[in-house]
């Protein structure tokens, strides 16, 4: 189907208490398996993971919705460790 999703725009309406200094997800940025990276990129509702046109892998945890999909799919592979952000921090659903 036509319309390409713009996740950043959607995340923009959400309320986050961002933890600028500590990522709650530990990602293996050198992970060699492109296929594994691709499935994590595609499963994440928040586009926390992305690969640019040059094939460079990016990870930006600040927009994470804390669902745990990447953990369930790839813990022990691309995902080295996953925890919730510290208390008070992360996504805050006003409506839910």
């Amino acid at each position: 189907m036509a319309a390409k999703v713009n996740v950043a725009e959607k995340l923009g309406v959400n309320k986050f208490h961002t933890d600028e200094h500590n990522s709650h997800i530990d990602v293996d940025m050198e992970y060699p398996d492109k296929n594994e990276i691709d499935r994590v990129v595609r499963v994440c509702p928040a586009s926390v993971y992305s690969v640019d046109e040059n094939g460079v892998f990016f990870f930006e945890y600040l927009g994470c919705l804390e669902c745990g999909s990447c953990k369930a799919l790839s813990e022990g592979k691309l995902i080295k460790a996953w925890n919730y952000p510290s208390g008070t921090l992360g996504i805050e659903y006003r409506l839910g």
Binding site: R42, C44, S47, L73, T88, L95
Partner: protein
Amino acid sequence: MSEEKFDCIIVGGGLAGLTAAYVLAGAGLDTLLVEKGNYSGAKNMTGGRLYGHSLERLIPGFAESAPVERRIVKERFSRGADGELTTMEYDNAGLSAPEGESYAVLRGVFDRWLADRAEEQGAMLVYGVRVDDLLVQDGKVCGVIAGVEEMEADTVILADGVNSLLAQKLGYKPVLRPDQAAVGVKELLGLSEEAINQRFDVDSGKGVAWIFNGCGDVYDGFLYTNKDSVSVGVTMMLEDIDKTENSVPQMLEDFKNSPQIAPLLEGGRLLEYSAHLIPEGGVGMLPQLYGDGVLIAGDAAALCANLGFTLRGMDLAVESGRLAAETVLAAKEQGDFSAQTLSAYQAVLSDSFVMACMKGEAACRAAVKADNCKDDPLGVFNGLMSEAGIR
């Protein structure tokens, strides 16, 4: 925080945890609930529809004062692909007794209301604190650890949600597998109350729950009417990411833009974008539900049933929270918090609608298998309605 020892510490301020807190504090127990978000519901989302019966039992007539969005009077079940859609509608004309009702809810709003009720009963609710681990001595759970702080209790109820890292740390639950959980992603779109009434053919206060089965290659869709917003989203079993080249956020976009859905959402303003995992492993996924000094309830216990035409988790969370609390009350009376005493929880849960619902899931799943639907959609719907059994 004080040096006192609590009768019970509850981890997680969602529906299971809040219900447990409500029951325990109401019976006079010294009850502490710890939630990592800044308020109850801050980390929670639902499609979503709450079947009221289990909360009705706890707080009769709750919907009169609780912030429910709309009472569900119509449920629609659609099958389709490639721009074609077959829809069946069940209309109860709003005739149900309160215990038969269901409601569209928004958890960020609804959970705060239930939290206020639990506080009224005397529960102590602490927000913004992430529990990192459990205090375990000689194999018995005897409190929680948050940062450098330790808090002790005779019993701990884990109601920390689908990922329940604490139940995993205890060894009660293996790591969630991709064939045991679906990812749900949702947009909340603001529309006027009048527009919703007109587009969905309902009166104010009454609403629609709508499940779209097999609409995408690997995802299902859902749509629920709130008072002046619509919840629209998709779910996909995590393992199915390997059967598609699409991304989950794009699936939602595709679903929203499908010819039957787009007109219903026209002019809707995005209010929030949310995502969550849904435990869908059925009875085979249930963790160890109790141990020395500890009980597990709600999503943390994987108590969620996908019945094909509807998805139930919140009423199961409420009921399991209540049953866990009652088990703790009985243990308190005996002064014995051993696994043996707390095993009563498993027994009452097995006799309750919760386990009946969980067992119904397997039959319903079989009924919605794609090939059945193609040949005999009406038979599938009838099968679902009867297999589901519990309304």
